[in-house]
Symmetry: C2
Subunit: 341 residues, 2 copies
């Protein structure tokens, strides 16, 4: 009898009971991939040394379906998502916690693949998982795996990048094509033919944000257009800052496959989720330099200036269309794509 035959190949309720099976899972699957000086102790809380200052703290749960999709999986998505939430405050992400909820019967092989992704995503971003928790729910009481990541990061002195901080005259940049994540997940879920061309943009943006903050001290807003897409994020900025925003349709980077798939499915890329995009509202004098910085970055090659801020129509977002017209872009008002992240 080999070791492999003796070990369970699926998650059992025992794995969530806090006893021997839980301990084996933690050592064999989690610690092997994520070990560091904080997680190593396996106490209920990690002990961290922090120097004083301003910190960002955030949480996100991930319920994406399918759990594996072109360009990532629920594990990398969970790490990237929380890193990006911290980055949007201008923070340097430091530490993550990882809360797993697993369905009884979930394949250990899939869990292993997801944890490989978590580890790889953490390594790329230079962020450590310092505490974790696993619960197991009886078969049929949930769908496979949900992941929560919470995180903390330190905010460099002088950085102020809240959504309330956009000013008339500012220009709006984005670091690349919109809608990739939403369409990649939907295409995989629906088994659409053209899915090979579509790939999620899921990526950690902490490096890019750090470069941007070094280029200009006049970054007024950083915002990742995830659920609800670019249209919803810009509406939030317009509302919280009390300004009007004009978006130039012909400047918006959208890939051809995403455009084609969106038209076929009757979806608007402006409302599709992104997981590796950042909207930056910046002083107009710094916009060109920032565009140059972005284009040097791994996740900024297709960066563009896509809009401007004014004192007209406060709280509103206006889309200037290719044909010269203009229409009001509202927030997302219904669920286009459940379980997109």
């Amino acid at each position: 009898m080999t070791d492999k035959m003796k070990k369970p190949q699926q998650i059992t309720l025992d794995h969530g009971a806090g006893g021997e099976a839980s301990h084996e899972l933690v050592h064999d699957i989690f610690l092997k991939r994520l070990d560091n000086e904080f997680l190593h102790h396996l106490d209920d809380s990690a002990v961290l040394d922090l120097t004083g200052g301003r910190f960002a703290m955030t949480t996100d749960s991930y319920v994406v379906d399918p759990i594996f999709f072109p360009g990532g999986d629920i594990g990398s998505l969970a790490v990237h998502g929380t890193i990006n939430d911290l980055s949007m405050q201008g923070a340097t992400p430091l530490y993550l916690t990882l809360g797993l909820i697993l369905e009884e019967g979930f394949p250990i092989a899939d869990l292993t693949r997801i944890m490989d992704s978590v580890a790889e995503a953490g390594r790329e971003a230079g962020v450590k998982v310092v505490a974790g928790d696993t619960k197991v729910v009886p078969k049929g009481k949930m769908d496979r795996v949900f992941i929560n990541t919470a995180g903390i990061g330190s905010i460099p002195e002088g950085v102020e990048a809240g959504s309330h901080n956009a000013r008339p005259g500012d220009l709006i940049l984005i670091n690349g094509c919109i809608g990739d994540h939403g369409i990649a997940v939907l295409a995989t879920r629906e088994g659409l033919d053209f899915q090979t061309e579509l790939k999620s943009d899921s990526a950690p943006l902490n490096g890019l944000v750090s470069a941007v903050l070094k280029t200009s001290s006049r970054i007024h807003v950083l915002r990742d257009p995830t659920r609800g897409g670019v249209a919803t994020a810009l509406n939030e900025i317009a509302g919280q800052s009390g300004v009007g925003i004009t978006l130039f349709e012909d400047a918006l980077p959208v890939s051809k496959p995403v455009l084609a798939a969106s038209e076929l499915l009757g979806l608007d890329p402006l409302y599709l989720a992104n997981e590796g995009k950042c909207l930056m509202v910046v002083d107009p004098d710094d916009a060109d330099a920032l565009l140059g910085t972005l284009k040097q970055e791994k996740y900024g090659k297709k960066a563009a200036i896509i809009g401007e801020v004014s004192d007209k129509n406060p709280g509103r977002v206006l889309l200037k269309t290719r044909v010269g017209g203009a229409r009001i872009l509202t927030m997302l008002t219904g669920e286009q794509l459940p379980r997109i992240c």
Copy 2:
């Protein structure tokens, strides 16, 4: 048409889409109950000012079934659980994040009741929810509501209370009766007759731990015996500290209803989950003073000295039975009670 008629009475997929319905939920249900200077901004991350030093960080997901039980609900449990994980490092809990995963169709009234509990539990413990996230999963893809709470707390200078720190000669205290949470949840789930006498011990232990740390500087281990119960927690301490532990059966506080229910169901209270208990491994010279301190505390009235640490049988936990015998107490090896927390 009244306002009440217009508002949805159940969670819809829209509530998790990041658009208008999400915003309404956040304002009407969450912010109304949890508002504070950090959460108020509703940015993706909260911005916190922390003075330098040592911090504890932790995460836990809650999938308890039933979601309402005698002595609490999934909301209070989630807040208490994370507060207690931080307290077990001797930390003063400061800030929590709250990640909700909701099933489409979940009653808004139940969500409101749960958020009332979250708010009340936070108030009692003096802890603020600073960031949150809500995901909605289509009906049938999960069971009602799961909650993740992550938290951070500051560790006072000089406090070192890891599970690796028990020393031969130390005495072991507990702050009250064991098994209450496990039996209360099970009895409610099974609709057992005697459930009216049974109540979860779910409670925040930060006040009690703070009092204990003021009484003695020789608290070597603090540990909450949640999943897996007292037997599993003591095994972990024995293993991580490389010591032997002897537990005195006749000193263990167990309530009569818990004893009766355990016998009926064939369960051992030593393996039942607790959500308001703390095991303390302390210098023997300080044990009596600590017992006095505990008995003054709201959650310590039935505190007792229940065991001792030795250099014999390292890694093992021995139970000295009432009749004078002794048997080895192992870790929990199977799932007694799924979805107990």
